[in-house]
C-alpha cells in the first residue's frame, strides 16, 4: 500500500466512482447540450424530424436574440449598401434588415442587477443575523428563529395578490428595488438558517483570542469569523442566487418593462419571428452562464471547509 490514510478510498474505488459520476453527468447534461446546440441551428434544423445531431452551425439564433428586424421588399433590399458584418448578412438572406437592438440585453442586465443585488443583501443581512443568533443571548431566540423559518412555509406565490397590490401602492411595481427586496425577503430565512449552522461550528475561542489580542468585537468578527465562514457564505450565496435568478412567477406578475428579468422575457422571443427556437435556445444558453460562472468562482471556498482543527477539543 502507498502512504494513504485508511480513510482515503483506494485507487479502484476512485476509478469506479469517477466513472459513475461521468456517466451520470453525461445523462443529465444531454438536455443542456441540446439547448446549447439548438442555439446554433437554423430554425428549420431546430424543428426537423428526425432531430439533427450533426448540423451546420450558425449564429442566426444569437443574431435574432439581440436584434429586432423588419421585412423589406426585394427592391428595397437591392438598393441598400452591401451588408456590414455577418449579422446583417444573415438577416438579409431572409429578406429582412436589422431595425435595432432587441430588449434581451436590457432584460439580462435586469436579471444581473436584481439577482446579484438580492443575493448580496440576503447574505449580508443573513450573516449579521446568524452571527447575532449564534453568539448573543437574545430573548426568545428560538422562537424568533422559528418565526424566521416560518416565513418560508407558505409558498410565496400564495401571497402574490397582496404583494401585487402592496407594491402598486408603494410604487415598487416594476422597479429593481422592489424585486431585490422581494427576493431578499424570500431568501433571508434560508440565509439565516444556513449561516447560523456554519457560524455555530466556529469555536468562540477564536473570537475570544482576537478580543484579547487587541481587537474589537466587530474586528474579531470581520478578521476571524468571516474568513472561517467563507464556505457557508459561498454556498448560501449560490442558493440565494439560484432562486433569485430563476424566479419566474413574481417576475411575470410584478415586472413588465423597466425591471423585467430574463425569465419572463425569454419565452416572448418566440413570438417575435414565428417559431424562432434557436433564438430562445440562445437566450437560455446565455441565461445559464452567470450562475455557472458564479459557482465556479466560489468553488474554491466551497471545497475549503477544512479550516477547523486548531482548537484542541
Amino acid at each position: 500500500m502507498s502512504a494513504h490514510s485508511i480513510t482515503e478510498p483506494s485507487a479502484t474505488t476512485k476509478w469506479i466512482s469517477g466513472g459513475l459520476v461521468v456517466a451520470y453527468a453525461v445523462v443529465t447534461l444531454i438536455p443542456l447540450l441540446w439547448i446549447v446546440a439548438t442555439g446554433f441551428k437554423t430554425p428549420a434544423d431546430a424543428i426537423s424530424y428526425p432531430p439533427k445531431v450533426v448540423f451546420d452551425p450558425t449564429i442566426e439564433g444569437y443574431v435574432n436574440l439581440f436584434t429586432t428586424r423588419t421585412r423589406v421588399t426585394p427592391e428595397q433590399l437591392e438598393s441598400l449598401p452591401p451588408p456590414e458584418g455577418i449579422a446583417e448578412e444573415i438577416v438579409r438572406s431572409y429578406g429582412m434588415v436589422i431595425a435595432g437592438p432587441s430588449r434581451f440585453g436590457e432584460r439580462f442586465m435586469n436579471s444581473v442587477v436584481i439577482g446579484f443585488g438580492s443575493t448580496f443583501l440576503s447574505v449580508f443581512l443573513g450573516t449579521l443575523a446568524a452571527y447575532a443568533f449564534s453568539r448573543f443571548k437574545i430573548p426568545l431566540s428560538d422562537d424568533l428563529l422559528f418565526f424566521i423559518l416560518s416565513t418560508r412555509m407558505m409558498p410565496p406565490i400564495a401571497v402574490a395578490i397582496p404583494i401585487f397590490l402592496m407594491y402598486r401602492q408603494l410604487g415598487l411595481s416594476d422597479t429593481h428595488l422592489g424585486m431585490i427586496l422581494l427576493y431578499t425577503a424570500v431568501n433571508i430565512s434560508l440565509a439565516v438558517w444556513l449561516l447560523k449552522g456554519f457560524i455555530d461550528e466556529i469555536p468562540r475561542e477564536y473570537e475570544e483570542a482576537a478580543l484579547i489580542d487587541g481587537y474589537t468585537r466587530f474586528q474579531a468578527f470581520y478578521k476571524v469569523v468571516l474568513p472561517q465562514a467563507a464556505t457557508g457564505i459561498a454556498s448560501t450565496a449560490i442558493f440565494c442566487l439560484i432562486f433569485a435568478w430563476n424566479e419566474y412567477a413574481f417576475a411575470v406578475l410584478l415586472t413588465s418593462g423597466t425591471a423585467q428579468t430574463a425569465p419572463p422575457f425569454i419565452p416572448t422571443i418566440i413570438g417575435v419571428g414565428g417559431q424562432d427556437w434557436p433564438a430562445v435556445a440562445a437566450g437560455a444558453t446565455l441565461f445559464l452562464l452567470p450562475v455557472l460562472i458564479f459557482t465556479v468562482l466560489l468553488r474554491k471556498h466551497l471545497l475549503r471547509g477544512i479550516t477547523f482543527g486548531a482548537v484542541r477539543k
Partner: protein, 334 residues
Amino acid sequence: MAEVVLRNLTKRFGKVPAVEDVSLGVPDGAFVVLLGPTGAGKTTTLRLVAGLERPDAGDILIDGRSVLGEMPAQRDVAMVFQQYSLYPHLTVRDNLAFPLRSPILRWDEAAIEKRVREVAEVLRIAHKLGNKATQLSGGEMQRVSIGRALVRRPRIYLMDEPLSSLDAKLRAELRIELKRIQQELGATLLYVTHDQIEAMTMATHVGVLDRGRLVQFGTPREIYEDPVSVYVAERLGQPRINTLPADLFGTRPDGAATIGLRPEHIRIGEGREARVGRIERLGDQTRLHLTLDGHEIVTLTEVHTRLTPGDIVAIRPQAPLYFDAAGARVPSGR
C-alpha cells in the same frame, strides 16, 4: 508590569459556582501559579481577569483601577488558552503577528517580522513559520499559542496550562525560558498548571482553589511545608501525602483526626513495623508501598534499594502534619 487585585470575586454558571468569593492580591512582577483539581475554577479565574467573563459579584483591579467596565483589549492582557485556539485560516507567522497588527498596536511590518522571528526562535518553532496553523502537532500548536502571548508586552500574562502537551525535555527547556522572560520583563503572570515542578520552580506565589474558593495563598514553600488543610497538602508532593489515622503511631495532638506523612516525614529503621508491598522503580526515585495495620503508605527509599516485596521495615513519623476531622490543619503541639 502591573499589580492585580481580585476582590470578593464570584462567578456562577447557572447554579454552579465556578469562582466563589475569591480575594487575592498579586503584586507587580509576581509569578502566581493557580493549583486545583479539574473543575476548581482556574480557567474561569483567568477568563475573569482577561475580561472574557463578567463576574456576578466582586471587583477586579489592575494597577489600582477597576477594569470591570473594560473590554479585553483595553485591559492589555495576553492569554494562552488551555485550548490553543490558533486562527486556523492563518499561517503560524500570521498567527504570531496577529496581536501586533491589532488596531491598538499597529506595528510596522519590518518590526513585526523581527519580533515574530525572535519569539519563534525562543519557542523552537522558527522552521514552522510558513505552516498553516492546522498543519502542526499538538505541541507545536501549544508553542504558537504561547508565542502569540509573548510577542506583546502586556500588563499581565495569563497562561492556562501552557506546557501541558510538550515532551519532558521541551517542557523543561521552556519552563526555564518562560521564567527567564518573566524575570527579564518583570512581568506579572498568572499561570495554571497541574505540574508540581512548574509550580515549585517558577512561582513566586501559589494559590490553591477548591471548588471555586481560594483556600490558601502563599509562597510555594509555604504551600508545601505549611498547608492549611489536607486538601492543600494533597495538591503538591510526589508521591502524594499519606493520610492515616492520627493515633496510628501513638500520641497525637488534641483534635487531630488524621496524620499526614510526606516521604520526608517518614524515618525508616525504627518505630512500627510495616510490610513492603510493591516497589516502583521510577529511575530517579524508587517508591516503596508499605502496609501498616491495613493502611497503605507510599514513601521513597534509596534508588537501588535491596528491599523486596514481603520484607518488613520499621517506620516512624518525623515532624508530620496533623489535621482535624474536617481536614483543617492542627498544630502539632511541639
